[in-house]
Every structure is written in structure tokens, then in C-alpha cells.
């Protein structure tokens, strides 16, 4: 959360940070191993089943990458907002709005070439997410409403609004099932591997990470946004309109989350089902955390979480351990990072307090 020295020193600054994240992962896996052993399974076997499940075959890898994609988007969403000192708990809702926009464009807009149709659907998904995120930003800057509260509320509104639409207004005729019609062929993202769910969306996700990293570290916009996050009064005294950046950060954050929903729909789900996200928006919070709110770090953190999730099924099949065990491991990772973060925070606070003269 704190490295500030720009990409010139990316490695110098990221490495110690990454070190803490890696340590947290290691500790979480160790504790997880102990839990597995207590459950009467050889931890080595359990973990190797997990690895098999995530990387054991081409299909496993495709599956793993498919799973990684939405986590990158939502992780980026949370991380970017956090750079402006905003806690966006609403990635899930923004994801739903993005998915909704994508499905509307995919189903109801017809007669476009694939290129335009896809571009339009993606743009719609990110704009819808941005609007939903921006709404929370607007509530904050104009009414002073804490973004944590408003994004939680907006989650409920988005999720149930979408659910309502799927059950009636936009349900696939004749309306037996709670789902929309399939999107047009022209709106579907190209597959990277036949008969798998993996689409080019993964490239879009990685590209967005690189782009946001560039914005944060190499543009005046990013630098001003970070200054608003770190020292709002100094930013204001430097002529920076803090409200503009708070709103902008929330909108961009929402846009990234909207792409998570859009890429799910356009990449492999092709239609919208009720509750079509298993909580990617909330996982994004942990991903951003593990990735130290650094866009590139987020990509790696998303990979870890995806591998755990994908590997869990194989582990369950082979060892009989419940796949929810990986949720425990995920929780432990976050907990260990929090502990390290807390220690560092306390230390830095002590030092900077002593430094003021």
C-alpha cells in the first residue's frame, strides 16, 4: 500500500512488499497443512492434489486462468480505489451492473460485426460499473456519505435489481427459468482454447493491470490521486480538487469491477443467471489486499486465489477434504497480512511521531 517510488524502482520497492505477502502465503499454507493433518489426511497429498487440479492438465490450466480473470478485475477495482484511500466494498454490485449492461447489449443489439459488438458490450459493461461506482463517489463528495456504507447498500440494490429483471422483464421467453436469453454470437469473446471456458478476457484483465499501473505511477493524474489518498490537505493546498479525484477513483474502480461482470458474460457464461457471481467482488477485497494495492501485485494475488479455488475441487475428490478448506486458507492469508501490516503500521507511526522535530 505504501511504495511510492515509481516504476523505476519497481523491484526495489515491490520486493520487500512481495516478501511480506509471500511470507503470509507460506504461513497460511503451513497452518492449513496442520489443519489437513488434523483432519487425518496427509497434507502433502492434499496440496499436490490441489496443484494437480489447478495445473495438472491443459484444461486445468485453462480453468484456472478463467477463474483468475474476474478476480483480477475486481482486485484492481478495490486496489485502485484504495490508492485514493477509498474502501470500495461494492465491487460485487458494480460487477452485477457491468454484467447486466453486457447482457443487454449482447442480447438486444443485433446486426453488428463481431468487433463492434464486442467493443460496444465491453464499453457498456465498464460504463455501467463506473456509473454504479461513481454514484458512491458522488454520494461521498456531495453528501459526505461514507463510501463503505454506500457501496454495501448499492450492492444489495444492484444484485436484487438484476435478479428482478432476470425474473421478469428480461427473462428468456417464455420465462420458465430465471435467466436471460443467450447473447448473440457476435458478442462472444474469442476462445483461447476450444472446448474450454478460457477467452481473451484474460488478456484484457492483464492489460488493464498494466494500464492502471502506468496511470498510478507515471501520470500526473495518478500522482495527484495518490496524494489525495495519502494527504488530502496537502493535495488541497496544492490546488488539487480532492472531490474530483475521489469521484474519479470510484468511477474507475467501478469500471474495472464492471468489466469483471462483462467478461464473465461475454467470455463464457453467455447469459445471465440469477446470482451469476460467486462473490468475485468480495474476493476482490482480499485479492487487492494480498496484492498490496499494486495493480501488478493484484494479478499474482488473483492467480493464487484462483488456483486455490480450482484446486480445491480436485482435492475434495481425491482426499475427501471439504473444498471449503481453501476458504480457511484464504482467510488465513488475509489475517497474516493484516498482522504484518499492523506491526509495520505501529512501527512507522512510532517512528514518524518521533521524527517530527
Amino acid at each position: 500500500m505504501k511504495e511510492t517510488e515509481g516504476p523505476g524502482n519497481l523491484f526495489a520497492t515491490l520486493l520487500p512488499q512481495a516478501g511480506a505477502s509471500l511470507l503470509a502465503i507460506f504461513l497460511a499454507m503451513t497452518v492449513g497443512g496442520v489443519l489437513i493433518a488434523i483432519a487425518g489426511v496427509n497434507p502433502y497429498e492434499a496440496y499436490s492434489a490441489m496443484l494437480q487440479g489447478a495445473f495438472g492438465s491443459q484444461f486445468a490450466i485453462a480453468n484456472f486462468l478463467t477463474r483468475t480473470t474476474p478476480l483480477i478485475f475486481t482486485g484492481l477495482a478495490v486496489a485502485f480505489a484504495f490508492r485514493c484511500n477509498l474502501l470500495n466494498i461494492g465491487a460485487e454490485g458494480q460487477l452485477y451492473m457491468g454484467g447486466l449492461a453486457a447482457v443487454l447489449v449482447g442480447v438486444y443489439v443485433t446486426g453488428l460485426s463481431a468487433l463492434f459488438h464486442i467493443a460496444l458490450a465491453i464499453a457498456a459493461a465498464s460504463l455501467a460499473g463506473a456509473a454504479w461506482g461513481g454514484l458512491a463517489g458522488l454520494l461521498k463528495t456531495t453528501r459526505g456519505i461514507n463510501e463503505i456504507i454506500s457501496t454495501i447498500m448499492l450492492n444489495f440494490i444492484a444484485i436484487f435489481f438484476v435478479s428482478f429483471l432476470i425474473q421478469g422483464p428480461i427473462a428468456e421467453p417464455p420465462g420458465f427459468f430465471h435467466q436471460t436469453a443467450l447473447i448473440e454470437e457476435t458478442a462472444r469473446l474469442p476462445k483461447l482454447m476450444p472446448r474450454s471456458d478460457l477467452s481473451v478476457a484474460i488478456f484484457l484483465a492483464v492489460f488493464l493491470a498494466v494500464a492502471l499501473s502506468f496511470v498510478l505511477w507515471r501520470t500526473p493524474f495518478g500522482m495527484k490521486l495518490r496524494s489525495v489518498g495519502l494527504a488530502p490537505e496537502t493535495a488541497r493546498f496544492s490546488g488539487i480538487s480532492t472531490n474530483k479525484y475521489l469521484f474519479g477513483a470510484m468511477a474507475i474502480s467501478g469500471g474495472a469491477a464492471g468489466l469483471a461482470g462483462g467478461s464473465e458474460i461475454l467470455g463464457h457464461q453467455y447469459r445471465m443467471l440469477d446470482f451469476f457471481s460467486p462473490g468475485y467482488g468480495f474476493d476482490g477485497i482480499a485479492v487487492a489486499f494480498l496484492g498490496r494495492s499494486d495493480p501488478i501485485g493484484v494479478v499474482f494475488a488473483a492467480m493464487l486465489f484462483a488456483a486455490l479455488r480450482v484446486g480445491a475441487n480436485q482435492m475434495q475428490r481425491e482426499t475427501g477434504l471439504p473444498s471449503s478448506l481453501v476458504l480457511v486458507i484464504q482467510g488465513l492469508v488475509v489475517l497474516f497480512i493484516l498482522a504484518a501490516e499492523l506491526r509495520r503500521w505501529l512501527r512507522e507511526r512510532a517512528v514518524s511521531k518521533g521524527k517530527e522535530a
Binding site: G6, K224, R226, I240, A350, E356, A357
Partner: protein, 509 residues
Amino acid sequence: MIEMEKITKVFPGGVVANREVDFKIASGQVHALLGENGSGKTTLMNILYGMHRATSGTISRSSQTLTIGSPSDAISHGIGMVHQHFMLVPTLTVAENVVLGTSAGPNRLCPFLNLREAEERIASLSREYRLDVDPRAEVWQLPVGAQQRVEIVKALYRDADVLILDEPTAVLTPQEANDLIDVLSNLASRGKSIVFISHKLNEVISLADEITVLRNGDMIGMVRKKDTDAKDLARMMVGRSIEPPELPNRSPGEPMLTVKSLCVEDDRKLEAVKDVSFTLRAGEILGVAGVDGNGQKELVEAIAGVRRAVSGSVETKHQGVSNREYARRIGHVTEDRLKTSVVLDFSLWENFGIKTCDTSPHASWLGMNIGSLKAATEAAISEFRIKSRGPDEKISSLSGGNQQKLVLARELGLKPDILLAAQPTRGLDVGAAEYVHQRLIEERQNGMAILLVSTELEEILAISDRVIVLYEGKIMGALAARKATREVLGLMMAGERLEEMERSPGERN
């Protein structure tokens, strides 16, 4: 008696902040610690207080080695520290603040707070050491000087017999500083040991028994007060003697800043600036004198465009530009450096570029030109002799004075035609302060219009062309600095109008 022997501190990154420094504190004495910005004073005292760990060296008390790994260790050894930024909870009372973090119950096992008893003890400490602290007052209502005494009470309440104060007078008005010095010498005469860090040599001379001078992490020497004077100390500190600045003749140019009937409110919505009018011309330094808290901050912020005026007007050549552009055209050295001038988590170059990162030559459609920002920062570092490891270092690891120099370098680097300088030399060593005064005079020669706000009359009298005095938000009068005397200014600062004094000169003294 506490003894620090051969203390060496190497920070990660290789900065040697202290090199084999010996430091002794005898009981009942005031030991002053002097040295240039970045010479290692704060670091040395942070080691004694357990905030930093020395790389090598020992700390002992009556030849018994102490291990001090944290502030609570230090406190348990009777060492207390008063930081420049107070660690008080504004909404709590004095007593509540004092007992925070102690076991205020009858014993450690009793979870209940016994405030009554604490209040009595605070009252008696206050009486004994003449601290004038009301245990039931709420902290936010107290002036800065009183808050500082609460910090002292906090240390005494924890049975400190060694009290470290890091630049305690930097935030005080001259009157408050004098009071503090009385309090401290009283504490010393009752057997407490005091470590006193300050850049103000006259304070050091009037208070200290012994003086240790650091330069660049090395201990240069230890002298007794009776064997030295301010000139000597300055020479020991910076290696040369310090000359008072000279203001060359210059007739002011066109008006650059016109303030008309300005009224401004403070954060509590009370009127802080009342019907203030003045004109600042090119090539002129206008000193704004006054006891801190008489509207200076609000006045400057209103001119800088970061605080809305209730009525009246501020006229410059820069009306109608965006806030951002306005901030670039008007240099502003703010009063509260940490809160409003720097981003502690940013590197030096990011702090340097915070106003200019989006204009040429530092930006293009491709993004920021980090190279040119770093080069500009590099130039500022050598121009202002900022002690640092380079543009990539985080500003939070610079010493206080060096942070201030970076802010000055940034604002002067804007080449503004108006500079608002609030306490520009706060926290600077005498050498750096001399340099800044010279720079301000130089900029004045080149036509900059400078508003100099300072609570130090010496500074105002030394480099201003004209002086206005603020009292309770109103201007008590304006006069040429050459004709101003400390006495007249003092009376104006206490609320007497210049005109009235001139009308009845006989009553003045």
C-alpha cells in the same frame, strides 16, 4: 545520571545518523543538544526514548546498563519525552489524557479508572512545578503552550526524572517560550534532568547548563554555558560565524496583492480576520507580526485560495485561473508543514513535483516526465543543501529541518510573483535560516512580493520593508520596519492601535 556511550546509529539504507556519540545527562541540569538540520539530534534522543535501536553503543544509569527497546521501557527507567507534535486526544480532559496508557486503578489488577485520584495528583504536580495545568480542562480548549505543559505533566505523572524536549519552542509564541523556559529551569532546580533541543541560540544560552553540539552525526564537543556565547555556538554548529542579514535599498514596484476589507472565519466558524486591508507591492517584503492565533493563518489561507472569505476581496494578477494554476502562481509555505505541505509517504521528487507534475516541462501527453522531475529535485537538494540520499528517498525519513527546506525549495522553484511565507524558518538551523533570509531578500530584489508571517520579531524586523500587526484578526497598524521598535510592536501585538499611541505619545512605555 544517564550516560550514552559511543552511540552509533546506521539507518537501513546506510545513513549514519550518529557516529560514536557520547552524551551525559546529570541530574538537576539542563543539557542542550545543538546541531545543524540532519545532524542526528532527534535520532539520538529517539534512541534514548526507545523509538529507535542504536546500532552500537550503550546506555547506562549510575553505571548500570539499561536496555531500552521501546518507549515503555524508557518510561519505566524514568525517561520521558515531549514530542513537537503532541500526542493528546483533544476531546478528553487533561486528567484523562494523562492516565491514558497507565494503570490508573488502585493497582494493576483493578480494571476501574480512578480519575479523582489522578486529578488530585495532577493538581499537586502542577502546583509543585508551577505548570498551571487544570486537570479537568478539555485539551482542545487549551492553547498550544498549555498543551505542551500537559505533555510535561504526562511525563512527570509517570515518574520521569529525565525529560527530553525536541524543539519544544518551535511551535510556541515568544511569550509562551519564555514561560516554558521558566518551567524547565524550575524543573531542573528540583532535581529533574532536562534535555533540550532547539535551534534558537538565545534560548539555549538562557536555559542550558551544558551544551553538546552535533555535526553530521559526530559529536563536535561539549561546552559549559559559562564558557561560551551565541556566536561561539553558531560557529561550532555550522563551522563559520553567522551574520545578520542586510536589507538593501529598493523602492517597491507595482501592487501585486491588494486585500480589501477581508473577513474570514476559522474552522470553528468564528470570525478570525476582521476587515483587513493592505497592499503588497512587487519587490517588497511585508511582515505580518502578531501572537500566534490572531488570524494570521486564516488570512494567509484566504489569500492562497484554500479558505473562503466571508466578505471582502483579494486581488492579484491571477484572478480567473483554475485553483490548480493559482496554487502554482502563488508560492505558499504553509504553517503546518506535516499536514498541509508534504505527503509523508511520497518520495522527495514526488513532494517536489506535487504542484508542477502536470505542466511542462514535467509532463506531456505521454504522462509525467519523471526524469525531469528528479533532475529538478536534485538541483533543489544541492541548492538548499538538503541532507538526503537523493530524490527517491521518502520525505518521512528526512530530519524536520530538511523537510522544511524541501518545501521552501519547491515554493521558490515555482518562481511565483507572490510568496506567502508562514514561519518559513521554523525548524531550520541558524545556517539554513540565514540562507533562507538571504534568498528571500534576493527574490525581493528580483521583484517578488513577499508576505512574511512570523511570530519572531527579530525575523520580521530583520528582513521586512513594512510591518503590519494583527491582533484578534484586526490590523493594529502598519509601519516601516526601519522605524519599528520591539516595544511599539509589542504593544500593538497586545491590542493597542498605532494611531492611538501616536496621538498620545506621552503615555507610551
